[in-house]
Protein backbone atom coordinates (compact mmCIF):
# COMPACT_ATOMS: atom_id res chain seq x y z
CA UNK A 1 0.00 0.00 0.00
CA UNK A 2 2.76 2.43 1.00
CA UNK A 3 4.73 1.30 -2.04
CA UNK A 4 1.73 1.96 -4.27
CA UNK A 5 1.39 5.43 -2.80
CA UNK A 6 5.05 6.19 -3.40
CA UNK A 7 4.79 4.97 -6.99
CA UNK A 8 1.69 7.09 -7.54
CA UNK A 9 3.32 10.20 -6.14
CA UNK A 10 6.48 9.56 -8.10
CA UNK A 11 4.50 9.12 -11.30
CA UNK A 12 2.46 12.20 -10.59
CA UNK A 13 5.57 14.29 -9.98
CA UNK A 14 7.38 12.95 -13.01
CA UNK A 15 4.21 13.57 -14.98
CA UNK A 16 4.18 17.20 -13.98
CA UNK A 17 7.91 17.72 -14.24
CA UNK A 18 8.89 15.81 -17.35
CA UNK A 19 5.88 14.97 -19.48
CA UNK A 20 3.83 18.08 -19.95
CA UNK A 21 1.62 16.33 -22.51
CA UNK A 22 1.56 12.64 -21.76
CA UNK A 23 -1.07 10.54 -23.45
CA UNK A 24 -2.44 9.69 -19.99
CA UNK A 25 -3.17 13.39 -19.50
CA UNK A 26 -4.42 13.68 -23.04
CA UNK A 27 -7.06 11.01 -22.35
CA UNK A 28 -8.43 13.15 -19.47
CA UNK A 29 -8.45 16.36 -21.50
CA UNK A 30 -11.69 17.71 -23.01
CA UNK A 31 -11.42 16.91 -26.71
CA UNK A 32 -11.86 20.51 -27.83
CA UNK A 33 -8.91 21.59 -25.68
CA UNK A 34 -6.44 18.90 -26.75
CA UNK A 35 -3.01 20.31 -27.65
CA UNK A 36 -0.68 19.12 -30.38
CA UNK A 37 2.03 17.06 -28.64
CA UNK A 38 5.63 17.95 -29.30
CA UNK A 39 8.01 15.26 -30.48
CA UNK A 40 10.59 14.60 -27.76
CA UNK A 41 13.35 13.73 -30.24
CA UNK A 42 14.64 14.99 -33.58
CA UNK A 43 13.39 13.54 -36.88
CA UNK A 44 16.81 11.98 -37.39
CA UNK A 45 16.97 10.45 -33.89
CA UNK A 46 15.62 7.03 -34.82
CA UNK A 47 17.92 6.49 -37.82
CA UNK A 48 18.63 4.00 -39.22
CA UNK A 49 15.64 2.07 -37.87
CA UNK A 50 13.19 4.80 -38.89
CA UNK A 51 14.42 7.31 -41.46
CA UNK A 52 14.09 11.04 -40.90
CA UNK A 53 11.90 11.70 -43.95
CA UNK A 54 9.37 9.16 -42.70
CA UNK A 55 9.48 10.74 -39.23
CA UNK A 56 9.01 14.22 -40.63
CA UNK A 57 6.06 13.37 -42.88
CA UNK A 58 4.52 11.03 -40.33
CA UNK A 59 4.63 13.63 -37.54
CA UNK A 60 4.15 16.91 -39.40
CA UNK A 61 1.67 15.70 -42.05
CA UNK A 62 -0.21 12.55 -41.04
CA UNK A 63 -0.30 13.16 -37.28
CA UNK A 64 -0.94 16.88 -37.75
CA UNK A 65 -3.84 16.16 -40.11
CA UNK A 66 -5.44 13.76 -37.62
CA UNK A 67 -5.10 16.37 -34.87
CA UNK A 68 -6.48 19.23 -37.00
CA UNK A 69 -9.33 17.11 -38.34
CA UNK A 70 -10.13 15.81 -34.85
CA UNK A 71 -10.56 19.36 -33.51
CA UNK A 72 -12.58 20.27 -36.60
CA UNK A 73 -14.83 17.23 -36.09
CA UNK A 74 -15.51 17.86 -32.38
CA UNK A 75 -15.73 21.66 -32.39
CA UNK A 76 -19.26 22.88 -31.84
CA UNK A 77 -20.49 19.36 -31.00
CA UNK A 78 -21.15 17.64 -27.66
CA UNK A 79 -17.84 15.78 -28.16
CA UNK A 80 -15.99 19.04 -27.58
CA UNK A 81 -16.48 18.84 -23.82
CA UNK A 82 -16.02 15.09 -23.50
CA UNK A 83 -12.56 13.85 -22.62
CA UNK A 84 -10.73 11.92 -25.32
CA UNK A 85 -11.27 8.79 -23.21
CA UNK A 86 -15.03 9.42 -23.06
CA UNK A 87 -15.12 9.89 -26.82
CA UNK A 88 -13.47 6.47 -27.24
CA UNK A 89 -15.96 4.90 -24.83
CA UNK A 90 -18.89 5.76 -27.09
CA UNK A 91 -17.04 5.72 -30.42
CA UNK A 92 -19.37 3.21 -32.07
CA UNK A 93 -22.07 5.90 -32.22
CA UNK A 94 -19.72 8.70 -33.32
CA UNK A 95 -19.44 10.04 -36.89
CA UNK A 96 -16.60 8.60 -38.99
CA UNK A 97 -14.67 11.90 -38.81
CA UNK A 98 -14.64 11.77 -35.00
CA UNK A 99 -13.78 8.07 -34.92
CA UNK A 100 -10.98 8.10 -37.46
CA UNK A 101 -9.32 11.31 -36.33
CA UNK A 102 -9.60 10.79 -32.57
CA UNK A 103 -7.94 7.42 -33.05
CA UNK A 104 -5.33 8.79 -35.43
CA UNK A 105 -4.52 11.57 -32.97
CA UNK A 106 -4.23 9.47 -29.82
CA UNK A 107 -2.57 6.44 -31.43
CA UNK A 108 0.23 8.49 -32.94
CA UNK A 109 0.71 10.54 -29.74
CA UNK A 110 1.25 7.28 -27.87
CA UNK A 111 3.49 5.91 -30.64
CA UNK A 112 5.84 8.92 -30.31
CA UNK A 113 5.77 8.53 -26.55
CA UNK A 114 6.96 4.93 -26.49
CA UNK A 115 9.77 5.42 -29.01
CA UNK A 116 13.22 6.83 -28.34
CA UNK A 117 16.73 6.60 -29.77
CA UNK A 118 19.17 4.05 -28.31
CA UNK A 119 16.72 3.17 -25.62
CA UNK A 120 17.87 -0.32 -24.69
CA UNK A 121 16.64 -3.54 -26.10
CA UNK A 122 14.69 -5.04 -23.20
CA UNK A 123 12.16 -4.12 -20.56
CA UNK A 124 13.25 -4.35 -16.92
CA UNK A 125 11.63 -4.68 -13.50
CA UNK A 126 7.97 -5.50 -12.96
CA UNK A 127 7.05 -5.27 -16.64
CA UNK A 128 9.86 -7.68 -17.60
CA UNK A 129 8.62 -10.16 -14.98
CA UNK A 130 5.04 -9.83 -16.19
CA UNK A 131 6.06 -10.33 -19.83
CA UNK A 132 8.06 -13.46 -18.91
CA UNK A 133 5.18 -14.81 -16.83
CA UNK A 134 2.60 -14.12 -19.55
CA UNK A 135 4.46 -15.14 -22.69
CA UNK A 136 7.14 -17.50 -21.34
CA UNK A 137 10.04 -15.28 -22.38
CA UNK A 138 10.81 -11.92 -23.93
CA UNK A 139 11.58 -13.64 -27.23
CA UNK A 140 8.21 -15.37 -27.22
CA UNK A 141 6.56 -12.05 -26.54
CA UNK A 142 8.42 -10.45 -29.45
CA UNK A 143 7.28 -13.24 -31.75
CA UNK A 144 3.65 -12.90 -30.71
CA UNK A 145 3.72 -9.12 -31.03
CA UNK A 146 5.38 -9.33 -34.46
CA UNK A 147 2.76 -11.84 -35.59
CA UNK A 148 -0.03 -9.44 -34.58
CA UNK A 149 1.72 -6.66 -36.51
CA UNK A 150 2.30 -8.86 -39.57
CA UNK A 151 -1.17 -10.40 -39.77
CA UNK A 152 -3.08 -7.12 -39.51
CA UNK A 153 -4.10 -6.95 -43.18
CA UNK A 154 -4.28 -3.47 -44.66
CA UNK A 155 -3.82 -0.48 -42.36
CA UNK A 156 -3.80 -0.69 -38.57
CA UNK A 157 -1.89 -1.13 -35.35
CA UNK A 158 -0.39 -3.90 -33.22
CA UNK A 159 -0.81 -3.49 -29.44
CA UNK A 160 0.32 -4.68 -26.03
CA UNK A 161 -2.44 -3.84 -23.58
CA UNK A 162 -3.32 -4.31 -19.92
CA UNK A 163 -6.82 -5.69 -19.47
CA UNK A 164 -9.06 -4.76 -16.53
CA UNK A 165 -7.98 -7.96 -14.74
CA UNK A 166 -4.38 -6.63 -15.07
CA UNK A 167 -3.35 -9.33 -17.53
CA UNK A 168 -1.14 -8.50 -20.52
CA UNK A 169 -2.58 -9.20 -23.96
CA UNK A 170 -1.40 -8.69 -27.54
CA UNK A 171 -3.99 -7.57 -30.06
CA UNK A 172 -4.34 -5.55 -33.26
CA UNK A 173 -6.88 -3.09 -34.62
CA UNK A 174 -7.80 -1.94 -38.14
CA UNK A 175 -7.20 1.59 -39.45
CA UNK A 176 -7.11 4.08 -36.55
CA UNK A 177 -9.18 2.04 -34.12
CA UNK A 178 -7.66 1.27 -30.72
CA UNK A 179 -8.31 -0.95 -27.67
CA UNK A 180 -9.84 1.94 -25.69
CA UNK A 181 -12.73 2.15 -28.16
CA UNK A 182 -16.02 0.52 -27.23
CA UNK A 183 -16.07 -1.37 -30.53
CA UNK A 184 -12.63 -3.00 -30.05
CA UNK A 185 -12.61 -6.81 -30.13
CA UNK A 186 -10.14 -6.87 -27.24
CA UNK A 187 -10.32 -3.92 -24.84
CA UNK A 188 -7.66 -2.66 -22.46
CA UNK A 189 -5.15 0.06 -21.64
CA UNK A 190 -2.46 0.36 -24.33
CA UNK A 191 1.16 0.39 -23.14
CA UNK A 192 2.97 -0.46 -26.40
CA UNK A 193 1.92 -0.13 -30.03
CA UNK A 194 3.28 -0.33 -33.54
CA UNK A 195 1.90 1.54 -36.52
CA UNK A 196 1.52 -0.83 -39.47
CA UNK A 197 -0.05 1.61 -41.89
CA UNK A 198 2.23 1.57 -44.92
CA UNK A 199 2.97 5.27 -44.36
CA UNK A 200 4.88 4.26 -41.19
CA UNK A 201 7.51 2.33 -43.13
CA UNK A 202 7.07 2.46 -46.90
CA UNK A 203 9.72 5.06 -47.79
CA UNK A 204 12.44 2.90 -46.23
CA UNK A 205 11.09 -0.65 -46.17
CA UNK A 206 8.50 -0.64 -48.97
CA UNK A 207 6.76 -4.04 -49.13
CA UNK A 208 9.01 -5.49 -46.40
CA UNK A 209 6.86 -4.87 -43.35
CA UNK A 210 8.67 -7.65 -41.47
CA UNK A 211 11.95 -5.70 -41.64
CA UNK A 212 10.27 -2.63 -40.17
CA UNK A 213 8.71 -4.70 -37.37
CA UNK A 214 12.15 -6.20 -36.64
CA UNK A 215 13.76 -2.73 -36.55
CA UNK A 216 11.04 -1.39 -34.25
CA UNK A 217 12.62 -3.24 -31.28
CA UNK A 218 15.66 -0.92 -31.58
CA UNK A 219 13.65 2.21 -30.86
CA UNK A 220 11.28 1.24 -28.07
CA UNK A 221 11.42 3.46 -24.99
CA UNK A 222 10.96 0.72 -22.39
CA UNK A 223 11.09 3.26 -19.58
CA UNK A 224 7.97 4.91 -20.99
CA UNK A 225 6.29 1.52 -21.54
CA UNK A 226 7.10 0.49 -17.95
CA UNK A 227 5.62 3.75 -16.66
CA UNK A 228 2.44 3.14 -18.62
CA UNK A 229 2.32 -0.41 -17.25
CA UNK A 230 2.78 0.76 -13.64
CA UNK A 231 -0.02 3.27 -14.07
CA UNK A 232 -2.32 0.72 -15.72
CA UNK A 233 -2.05 -1.82 -12.88
CA UNK A 234 -2.17 0.82 -10.15
Amino acid sequence: MIRKCIISIALLLSGIALYAQTTLQLLQTPSGKAGFPTLSFAYTALEPSIDSLTMRIHYSRHFRAYYDNFLKAVNGTPYENQTVKQVFESISSAPAAVKNNSGGFYNHALYWEIMAPNSGSKPTGELADKIDKTFGSFDNFKKAFATAAMTRFGSGWGWLIVKTDKSLVITSTPNQDNPLMDNAEVKGTPILLIDVWEHAYYLKYMNKRADYVAAFWNVINWKAVSDLYAKAID
Binding site: I57, R61, F153, G154, S155, N175, W197, H199, Y202, N207
Partner: protein, 228 residues
Protein backbone atom coordinates in the same frame (compact mmCIF):
# COMPACT_ATOMS: atom_id res chain seq x y z
CA UNK B 1 -28.27 -10.69 -68.86
CA UNK B 2 -25.08 -12.40 -69.86
CA UNK B 3 -21.80 -10.77 -68.89
CA UNK B 4 -18.25 -11.72 -69.60
CA UNK B 5 -15.05 -11.25 -67.72
CA UNK B 6 -12.16 -12.58 -69.79
CA UNK B 7 -12.56 -16.33 -69.58
CA UNK B 8 -15.39 -16.08 -67.09
CA UNK B 9 -19.12 -15.64 -67.60
CA UNK B 10 -21.56 -14.55 -65.02
CA UNK B 11 -25.22 -13.91 -64.74
CA UNK B 12 -26.80 -11.31 -62.49
CA UNK B 13 -30.19 -12.08 -61.04
CA UNK B 14 -30.72 -9.43 -58.40
CA UNK B 15 -28.71 -6.54 -57.07
CA UNK B 16 -27.44 -8.62 -54.14
CA UNK B 17 -26.89 -11.92 -55.89
CA UNK B 18 -24.67 -12.84 -58.77
CA UNK B 19 -25.05 -16.24 -60.36
CA UNK B 20 -22.47 -17.62 -62.65
CA UNK B 21 -24.08 -18.95 -65.79
CA UNK B 22 -21.06 -20.30 -67.50
CA UNK B 23 -17.47 -20.63 -66.46
CA UNK B 24 -14.69 -21.48 -68.81
CA UNK B 25 -11.78 -22.37 -66.60
CA UNK B 26 -8.25 -21.48 -67.58
CA UNK B 27 -4.99 -22.18 -65.79
CA UNK B 28 -4.05 -19.83 -62.95
CA UNK B 29 -1.28 -17.56 -64.09
CA UNK B 30 0.41 -14.39 -62.98
CA UNK B 31 -0.54 -11.77 -65.56
CA UNK B 32 2.09 -9.98 -67.63
CA UNK B 33 2.34 -6.24 -67.14
CA UNK B 34 1.25 -4.72 -70.49
CA UNK B 35 3.92 -1.94 -70.35
CA UNK B 36 7.34 -1.26 -68.86
CA UNK B 37 7.84 0.09 -65.34
CA UNK B 38 8.64 3.65 -66.38
CA UNK B 39 5.82 3.82 -68.92
CA UNK B 40 3.49 5.75 -66.62
CA UNK B 41 6.05 8.39 -65.57
CA UNK B 42 5.69 11.02 -64.29
CA UNK B 43 2.24 10.12 -62.95
CA UNK B 44 3.34 6.82 -61.45
CA UNK B 45 7.07 6.43 -60.88
CA UNK B 46 9.01 3.41 -62.15
CA UNK B 47 10.07 2.25 -58.69
CA UNK B 48 6.47 2.17 -57.46
CA UNK B 49 5.41 0.23 -60.56
CA UNK B 50 8.19 -2.30 -60.17
CA UNK B 51 7.60 -2.97 -56.46
CA UNK B 52 3.84 -2.86 -56.85
CA UNK B 53 3.88 -5.42 -59.64
CA UNK B 54 6.81 -7.68 -58.75
CA UNK B 55 6.38 -7.67 -54.96
CA UNK B 56 2.85 -6.78 -53.89
CA UNK B 57 0.89 -8.23 -56.82
CA UNK B 58 3.18 -11.22 -57.09
CA UNK B 59 2.80 -11.99 -53.36
CA UNK B 60 -1.00 -11.86 -53.63
CA UNK B 61 -0.94 -14.22 -56.59
CA UNK B 62 1.51 -16.65 -54.99
CA UNK B 63 -0.35 -16.74 -51.67
CA UNK B 64 -3.70 -17.10 -53.39
CA UNK B 65 -2.48 -19.96 -55.53
CA UNK B 66 -0.84 -21.65 -52.54
CA UNK B 67 -4.14 -21.36 -50.65
CA UNK B 68 -6.28 -22.95 -53.39
CA UNK B 69 -3.80 -25.47 -54.84
CA UNK B 70 -5.00 -29.01 -54.29
CA UNK B 71 -8.37 -27.83 -52.98
CA UNK B 72 -11.77 -27.81 -54.68
CA UNK B 73 -11.22 -24.09 -55.44
CA UNK B 74 -8.34 -24.79 -57.78
CA UNK B 75 -10.83 -25.89 -60.42
CA UNK B 76 -13.33 -23.10 -59.84
CA UNK B 77 -13.33 -19.79 -61.63
CA UNK B 78 -12.49 -16.67 -59.67
CA UNK B 79 -16.02 -15.29 -59.91
CA UNK B 80 -17.42 -18.43 -58.31
CA UNK B 81 -14.91 -18.01 -55.54
CA UNK B 82 -15.74 -14.32 -55.04
CA UNK B 83 -19.44 -15.15 -55.03
CA UNK B 84 -18.95 -17.32 -51.93
CA UNK B 85 -16.03 -15.43 -50.40
CA UNK B 86 -17.78 -14.74 -47.10
CA UNK B 87 -17.67 -18.48 -46.39
CA UNK B 88 -13.97 -18.87 -47.23
CA UNK B 89 -10.72 -18.21 -45.39
CA UNK B 90 -9.30 -14.70 -45.01
CA UNK B 91 -6.23 -15.95 -46.90
CA UNK B 92 -8.32 -16.66 -49.99
CA UNK B 93 -10.33 -13.46 -49.57
CA UNK B 94 -7.32 -11.15 -49.12
CA UNK B 95 -5.06 -12.75 -51.70
CA UNK B 96 -7.74 -13.62 -54.25
CA UNK B 97 -8.88 -10.01 -54.09
CA UNK B 98 -5.32 -8.70 -54.26
CA UNK B 99 -4.65 -10.90 -57.30
CA UNK B 100 -7.76 -9.87 -59.25
CA UNK B 101 -7.83 -6.18 -58.24
CA UNK B 102 -4.27 -5.50 -59.35
CA UNK B 103 -4.76 -7.47 -62.56
CA UNK B 104 -7.66 -5.17 -63.45
CA UNK B 105 -5.77 -2.07 -62.30
CA UNK B 106 -2.83 -2.70 -64.68
CA UNK B 107 -5.29 -3.09 -67.55
CA UNK B 108 -7.28 0.08 -66.98
CA UNK B 109 -4.22 2.33 -66.79
CA UNK B 110 -1.54 2.77 -69.43
CA UNK B 111 0.85 5.09 -71.25
CA UNK B 112 -0.53 7.59 -73.81
CA UNK B 113 -3.91 7.39 -72.15
CA UNK B 114 -6.07 9.77 -70.18
CA UNK B 115 -8.44 12.11 -71.96
CA UNK B 116 -12.14 11.37 -72.10
CA UNK B 117 -14.22 8.23 -72.51
CA UNK B 118 -15.95 7.93 -75.87
CA UNK B 119 -19.08 6.39 -77.33
CA UNK B 120 -21.59 4.43 -75.29
CA UNK B 121 -19.55 4.62 -72.09
CA UNK B 122 -19.35 8.42 -72.36
CA UNK B 123 -23.12 8.53 -72.88
CA UNK B 124 -23.72 6.28 -69.88
CA UNK B 125 -21.42 8.38 -67.68
CA UNK B 126 -23.17 11.59 -68.71
CA UNK B 127 -26.58 9.99 -68.24
CA UNK B 128 -25.75 8.60 -64.80
CA UNK B 129 -23.62 11.34 -63.26
CA UNK B 130 -24.67 14.45 -65.24
CA UNK B 131 -21.25 15.08 -66.78
CA UNK B 132 -17.76 13.61 -66.93
CA UNK B 133 -16.60 16.22 -64.37
CA UNK B 134 -19.38 15.20 -61.97
CA UNK B 135 -18.32 11.57 -62.37
CA UNK B 136 -14.69 12.51 -61.69
CA UNK B 137 -15.70 14.38 -58.54
CA UNK B 138 -17.74 11.44 -57.27
CA UNK B 139 -15.01 8.92 -58.06
CA UNK B 140 -12.34 11.10 -56.41
CA UNK B 141 -14.54 11.39 -53.32
CA UNK B 142 -14.90 7.62 -53.13
CA UNK B 143 -11.12 7.29 -53.42
CA UNK B 144 -10.43 10.01 -50.84
CA UNK B 145 -13.02 8.90 -48.32
CA UNK B 146 -11.93 5.27 -48.29
CA UNK B 147 -10.15 5.44 -44.93
CA UNK B 148 -7.13 3.18 -44.59
CA UNK B 149 -6.38 0.76 -47.41
CA UNK B 150 -8.73 -0.06 -50.25
CA UNK B 151 -10.01 0.57 -53.75
CA UNK B 152 -12.36 2.92 -55.60
CA UNK B 153 -14.47 1.47 -58.38
CA UNK B 154 -16.69 2.26 -61.33
CA UNK B 155 -19.00 -0.70 -61.73
CA UNK B 156 -21.87 -1.89 -63.91
CA UNK B 157 -24.76 -2.96 -61.73
CA UNK B 158 -27.24 -5.78 -62.26
CA UNK B 159 -29.59 -3.54 -64.23
CA UNK B 160 -26.82 -2.23 -66.51
CA UNK B 161 -26.53 1.08 -64.66
CA UNK B 162 -23.20 2.60 -63.63
CA UNK B 163 -22.23 3.20 -60.00
CA UNK B 164 -19.23 4.50 -58.09
CA UNK B 165 -18.26 2.65 -54.93
CA UNK B 166 -15.28 1.75 -52.77
CA UNK B 167 -14.14 -1.32 -50.83
CA UNK B 168 -11.76 -1.82 -47.90
CA UNK B 169 -8.42 -3.65 -48.16
CA UNK B 170 -8.50 -6.14 -51.07
CA UNK B 171 -12.25 -6.64 -51.18
CA UNK B 172 -14.03 -5.90 -54.47
CA UNK B 173 -17.58 -5.46 -55.79
CA UNK B 174 -17.69 -9.03 -57.15
CA UNK B 175 -17.49 -10.41 -53.61
CA UNK B 176 -20.70 -11.55 -51.97
CA UNK B 177 -19.92 -9.40 -48.93
CA UNK B 178 -19.52 -6.11 -50.84
CA UNK B 179 -21.87 -3.26 -49.83
CA UNK B 180 -22.52 -2.49 -53.50
CA UNK B 181 -22.10 -5.31 -55.99
CA UNK B 182 -21.43 -5.18 -59.67
CA UNK B 183 -18.99 -5.74 -62.47
CA UNK B 184 -15.86 -3.54 -62.10
CA UNK B 185 -14.78 -1.63 -65.22
CA UNK B 186 -12.47 0.95 -63.60
CA UNK B 187 -10.37 0.51 -60.45
CA UNK B 188 -8.12 2.79 -58.44
CA UNK B 189 -5.78 1.38 -55.80
CA UNK B 190 -5.71 3.66 -52.74
CA UNK B 191 -3.46 1.52 -50.58
CA UNK B 192 -0.57 3.77 -49.57
CA UNK B 193 1.83 1.40 -51.37
CA UNK B 194 0.25 2.53 -54.66
CA UNK B 195 1.44 6.11 -54.27
CA UNK B 196 3.56 6.68 -51.16
CA UNK B 197 7.05 6.74 -52.74
CA UNK B 198 6.04 9.63 -54.99
CA UNK B 199 3.08 11.32 -53.30
CA UNK B 200 3.48 10.40 -49.58
CA UNK B 201 0.51 11.80 -47.65
CA UNK B 202 -0.91 13.58 -50.71
CA UNK B 203 -3.41 10.98 -51.88
CA UNK B 204 -5.36 13.68 -53.70
CA UNK B 205 -2.40 14.47 -55.98
CA UNK B 206 -2.19 10.79 -56.89
CA UNK B 207 -5.91 10.68 -57.66
CA UNK B 208 -5.58 13.76 -59.89
CA UNK B 209 -2.66 12.12 -61.72
CA UNK B 210 -4.69 8.93 -62.20
CA UNK B 211 -6.95 10.65 -64.76
CA UNK B 212 -3.90 11.18 -67.01
CA UNK B 213 -3.32 7.44 -67.34
CA UNK B 214 -6.80 5.90 -67.48
CA UNK B 215 -7.06 3.60 -70.48
CA UNK B 216 -10.58 4.52 -71.57
CA UNK B 217 -10.53 2.06 -74.49
CA UNK B 218 -10.06 -0.73 -71.99
CA UNK B 219 -12.76 0.66 -69.69
CA UNK B 220 -15.14 0.94 -72.66
CA UNK B 221 -14.41 -2.62 -73.62
CA UNK B 222 -15.24 -3.72 -70.05
CA UNK B 223 -18.43 -1.71 -70.22
CA UNK B 224 -19.38 -3.28 -73.55
CA UNK B 225 -18.83 -6.79 -72.19
CA UNK B 226 -20.82 -6.01 -69.07
CA UNK B 227 -23.80 -4.68 -71.02
CA UNK B 228 -23.81 -6.91 -74.08
Amino acid sequence: MNRCLNEFYLFFITNKEIMIKQCEKKAWEFPTLPYIYDALEPFIDAQTMEIHYTKHHRAYFDKFYAAIKGTEFENMCLLHIFDMISELSVTIRNNGGGFYNHKLFWKVIGPDCGGLPQGKLADAINFTFGSFEDFQTLFAEAATNRFGSGWAWLIVRHDGSLAVTSTPNQDNPLMDLADVRGFPILALDVWEHAYYLKYQNRRMDYINAFWKIVNWDQVSSGYAKATE
